[in-house]
Symmetry: C2
Subunit: 495 residues, 2 copies
């Protein structure tokens, strides 16, 4: 697929000088329009053959456009903080906000191709990396991001000539590292694996653009025009309207809701509770200070009906622990900085590094619960969220994060009793708001959303645990026991 | 000063159990009030003798209060990202937002005392660290933060007994590291230097509380009551009202404004400009890729009249560079996440690690410019900002960051011409807003603010460079030359 990029297109300087002013002005125009609309971000992935003009082209774009709205990132050697997190964390933390443009050198494609070329991974792992990249990009695009993927190409002969010229240029010689020269030897491998990657990852929503790198005028105009057209098309699309959603999932109409199977009468008497609670708390304390935890992080995700006792359960989990060992993240409506990012961004930010434990009080499942029921996002948004969330959790578990998810379930009668009690108790009055009463009216809608959620996101690697929470004692002990069992199971799998 | 903490106060369990329920409820109450008001954050510093109950007390506070609103942080060994930044960066990145509480173990006091005890620094460096801590705390408090400093104390005998008991307890033995035992040997030094630090850093706005650590009941109630009283007092204070400020600084009334001395007729003809620009750009490119840059970071701060040509100057700086070498941070009104932090927080976030170059398009000087003139902050706020900013920049330069600050000055007539031209040029129409016309009306007020700013923040380590910017050619070359000179001067100082 690279033959068409070895033809030797060239544009003479006169023609180039004629075209550039209008292109520049148009690019600036779309850039400011992007900023004004603040509806999506632009991600530009830069890949290809060494010496084919990657750096030069991006430098030129920064001259043509307003560099204050462009963030250029290079992903070289990961920092120790990055190494302690799942691999995608370093990309998430560098995502440009809506209205801005991020240019990624050394991105996921560079990593996978380099690894394959240098024999660090085999074909199966390359294909796995390809799949991961595709899912990431699809999700970003579904969230509105506009992705441009550029492959700068040179034939083997062209590359050798170019690298020789660069070597002789004192202003450029610093950029030719031994690795680059090595790459000249492995050109064939680089092209072979590059082609495999490009063929599999060129999609309508994020196609590859192969840029012939030999003539600077040609490649500059080509890249500029591709960006211009893509941006114009995206900016012209009507703003997505957010509808009152809550259409049921077809499949769930005639199937039993998993919540029906719960026996909410399960309970523990006080003595039994006290003893078991202390036992499980001691077990958790011991497990978390086990040396094997250094290879893992722990994420506990709490969801549940309002007044189901999430806060109380979280407190019982923490009671066993030194406060330096855990971090609680309460999730409310997203902040301004969070709203200009894909919805998973705010959770990626809070994923603990290896050895640490984070408790989410409400979670990324808000997308398929409150956002679905209240119509804060479109039906297609929450429908695709099931798969995106499964991907997200798979990335966590692949990196050694133990993910434990709880739904604390109570019945409507119990909720009413607890709401009333909260209104009466002075220091609990903060816990009950008008929203809570309003949500209660939507009980059936939430119930169906929970059923679908558990159905579609209870994976083997990150299963849901439904907690019968009418009895707080029972609920707290079951939460702790489940956490402990999950940690032990992870330790066993390590062997 | 620790004698009073070796008396042996004790509270029996019956008395303790009687007092705890009311204290808990009151603590929860103030905690929710803090969250509701979202007016300030609480920072709790935990220090003192090993084994005196630091961890246990914080654990208890997390049980008594709502742990979802508390962030416990331990500052152990810094990560490589932290090591590449000025020392305070790691604390800034962990500051709790307004409405929340942060508990800092291993904080700035722990670092300085440990370093002194183990002979890593001498008295002079300890005093320097004490001064740095004081300025940081004063600034945080002035920004509204409420700081509690606890020193948990034990006599030497009590400590030995306690450490022995902990060693024999299988549930606790994991926490006794060799270092802790070593500390038992160096108890005297620890107390001596601790006392020196406490004596010098106990201030009205952030006093030390020495807590007798031997009896758990006593120390728990003591800490709980101190927090409760402090929080209640702070919450009861009326919300700070922000006034229409713009009172002149007394000192500047009868002194010449430095801007008067500028010769705005300075200009370069086109040929001269082209040649010098290319020369300075090449010089910058060479300097930034010099190996000596690995020991430094570079920060270029751009301020100036509206339409003075900041954007154009920044573009000429970048034109010389690979876009992977710099990062431009445009500063606009603070976002929601930024508004719940001290005003310097958003700039600390963007300080580059060693080896990197960040350009701020408008800066932390907004505090003494737009915020002063428009009355977005109180007079006392912007008056104290001069000192705070000098401190901030000193911390940067101490860590090897080269700080170069530009004020681009034009006269009123030139500004008017440029505003008119912008309105006519299609792709520049985004650059001119109603705000710009409004700001223009306040020309004298801004002029005075700039005069005071330059006067008070042009330090030897981070001087202002006033740029005569009526002629864009002159301005751009002078900006580049100044940057280059500053880098060379830093390299020379390295020797």
């Amino acid at each position: 697929m690279f033959e068409s990029a070895e033809i030797g297109h060239a544009i003479d300087d006169r023609e180039y000088d004629k075209q550039v002013p209008a292109l520049r002005e148009a690019l600036l125009d779309v850039q400011y329009e992007l900023k004004q609309q603040q509806r999506f971000q632009v991600i530009v992935l830069i890949n290809g053959i060494e010496g084919a003009g990657k750096g030069e082209t991006v430098k030129l774009l920064n001259e043509w456009m307003d560099p204050r709205l462009i963030e250029v990132r290079t992903f070289d050697r990961p920092s120790d903080e990055e190494l302690a997190h799942p691999p995608a964390w370093r990309y998430w933390r560098q995502l440009p906000a809506k209205g801005r443009m991020g240019v990624f050198f050394g991105n996921w494609y560079s990593q996978m191709i380099q690894n394959r070329v240098h024999g660090k991974i085999k074909d199966a792992a390359l294909d796995q990396a390809i799949n991961d990249a595709e899912r990431l990009e699809q999700m970003l695009c579904d969230e509105g991001a506009l992705i441009f993927k550029f492959w700068f190409h040179l034939s083997r002969k062209q590359m050798k000539k170019r690298l020789k010229a660069l070597e002789d240029d004192p202003l450029h010689s610093w950029r030719i590292s031994p690795l680059d020269w090595q790459q000249s030897k492995t050109y064939n491998r680089f092209v072979r694996f590059g082609e495999r990657v490009l063929r599999r990852t060129s999609r309508d929503y994020a196609p590859w653009h192969v840029i012939e790198g030999v003539d600077a005028n040609y490649r500059s105009l080509a890249v500029g025009n591709i960006l211009l057209e893509g941006l114009r098309a995206a900016l012209a699309q009507p703003a997505q309207t957010v509808h009152q959603a809550m259409a049921p999932l077809g499949a769930s109409l005639d199937k039993r809701n998993l919540l029906d199977a719960l026996d909410l009468s399960l309970a523990l008497d006080k003595d039994d509770y006290k003893q078991r609670l202390v036992e499980e708390q001691a077990r958790l304390a011991t497990l978390l200070r086990d040396k094997r935890m250094r290879r893992h992080a722990l994420v506990a995700a709490f969801e549940g009906n309002d007044a189901a006792g999430k806060g109380g359960a979280i407190r019982r989990v923490c009671a066993a622990l030194d406060p330096r060992q855990y971090h609680i993240v309460p999730i409310a409506a997203p902040s301004e900085d969070e709203r200009v990012q894909p919805y998973l961004w705010r959770f990626w930010r809070q994923i603990p590094p290896r050895g640490q434990f984070t408790i989410f009080d409400r979670t990324w499942y808000g997308r398929v619960l409150v956002e679905r029921v209240e119509g804060f996002c479109s039906q297609s948004d929450w429908m695709r969220a099931y798969g995106e969330i499964n991907d997200f959790e798979e990335q966590l578990t692949d990196a050694g994060v133990i993910v434990v998810k709880f739904w604390l379930a109570i019945d409507q009668h119990t909720q009413l009793e607890r709401f009333k009690a909260r209104e009466k108790t002075p220091f609990k009055r903060y816990k009950i708001t008008e929203d809570d009463w309003r949500n209660r009216e939507k009980w059936p809608a939430y119930r169906e959303a929970v059923g679908d959620m558990v159905d579609r996101t209870s994976t083997e690697i990150a299963p849901w645990t439904l907690i019968e929470a009418n009895d707080k004692h029972w609920a707290r002990v079951k939460v702790l026991r489940t956490l402990n069992d999950a940690i032990e199971a992870a330790f066993k799998r390590d062997k």
